[in-house]
Amino acid sequence: MITVKDLHKSFGDLEVLKGISAEVKESEVVCVIGPSGSGKSTFLRCINLLEDITSGEVTIDQDVINDPKTNINQVRSQVGMVFQHFNLFPHKTVLENITIGPVKVKGMKEEAAKEIALQLLEKVGLSDKADAYPESLSGGQKQRAAIARSLAMEPKVMLFDEPTSALDPELVGDVLEVMKDLAREGMTMVVVTHEMGFAREVGDRVMFMDEGVVMEEGDPQQIFEDPQNPRTQEFLSKIL
């Protein structure tokens, strides 16, 4: 589904990603862990070109997304992205946040988009918030609304950039629950996270990144219980 080949990304002189290759198969849930500044968010943002790629190749479903000939808007509409700070549109209701994509990008009728939006809101447990504005929601509700917004585009892949890092601890559970449901339904997911419990329970594979490279990857059991790389060992010993 996603193939990344020798991805490099520099901000000026600072090389943040130093040659990353990875593959994500359909319906796979890959969790990316690592210390802050390791480049994991940048890696995720390169997958839907929110960052320009310095060199290398990212392919989503046969489309090389950093090829200038590729219609990036088309690609982005098939890749959902959930942000750490939700980034809901504050001037639109929850419902409008969800329908804007289908209506403006896919040309769907308002009514049809609304129906989909209401189904999605039910799925993330926010049926009663359709007409509320984002500012009246709690952090957890905002993030679930943001997930619904991404799902409305019927993406093939969902990217999560530390989706629970900005949440109060007691609100994390609801968001993770929604993400688990998605994983169970077979959504292909790449999740940058500090929730090791989630990575262990839901992840099919865990990638440990540090200093702009993938230091180690493997199934969660192996990474968490028997890490091979000393950096992985050090990182896990600090946080577990």
């Binding site: 929110l50 982005r76 098939q78 549109f89 804007i100 990008v105």
Partner: protein, 227 residues
């Protein structure tokens, strides 16, 4: 008692305070016309220039920046002289009316300041909003139109109101090219009647009758928008 009041009222009605009013009213109409038309056009000019200053295209950014800097760096009095005498009469040899020159001057002058208002407001919108728009699949243009602009516009309202007050007062300078706006009318009136003090008091009162309510409304809007 009543007689005294009556005679006071008579002398007031007979004074320049009241008698200048029909004359000044003609000026007020032009003042408002220049301000409103000039600001409307200035907003369009300012929106393009302000967005131009944020453009990725270096040429567009350069042109917009030069425009803003030149206009903000020169007095509006010089600008209107330039438009009325310098460019239209001297350089091109076309006579435009003083009123047209005045409207062009406000458009250009307010346009430069509004460009900075637009740039600041758009720039103040969290980058995450843009990213979220693009991540949903909206094009750059759609993201601007549906996501960034509506939020930025809200933040533009208070400074735009402020610009309205500034431009309204700037129109008084156009008396130098004999546009019959409020100050020009006032001068005409007191040159004929020699009632300078009374006339200028009335001119000030008329300005304040527009500017004070405007700033009161603005303060309310500001509180409501919470910006």
């Amino acid at each position: 008692m009543i007689d005294a009041l009556n005679s006071m009222l008579d002398s007031l009605m007979d004074s320049a305070y009241i008698k200048s009013l029909p004359f000044l009213y003609e000026g007020l109409k032009l003042t408002l016309l220049i301000t409103i038309v000039g600001l409307f056009l200035g907003f369009i000019l300012g929106a393009f220039t302000g967005l131009g200053r944020l453009s990725k295209n270096g040429f567009i950014r350069g042109i917009s920046t030069i425009f803003v800097e030149v206009v903000r760096g020169t007095p509006i009095l010089v600008q209107v002289l330039f438009i009325y005498f310098g460019i239209s009469e001297d350089l091109i040899g076309v006579n435009i009316s003083a009123l047209t020159a005045a409207i062009i001057a406000i458009t250009i002058n307010a346009g430069a300041y509004i460009a900075e208002i637009v740039r600041g407001a758009v720039h103040s919108i969290d980058k995450g909003q843009y990213e979220a728009g693009r991540a949903v699949g909206l094009t750059e243009r759609q993201t601007m139109r549906y996501i960034i602009w509506p939020q930025a516009f809200k933040r533009m309202i208070p400074p735009l109101g402020n610009q309205f007050i500034i431009s309204l007062k700037d129109t008084s300078l156009f008396s130098v090219i004999a546009v019959g706006e409020l100050v020009y009318q006032g001068r005409q009136y007191y040159n004929a009647t020699f009632e300078v003090f009374e006339t200028l008091v009335m001119v000030c009162i008329i300005y304040l009758m527009i500017t004070i309510p405007t700033s009161v409304i603005l303060r309310r809007v500001e509180r409501k928008l919470d910006v």
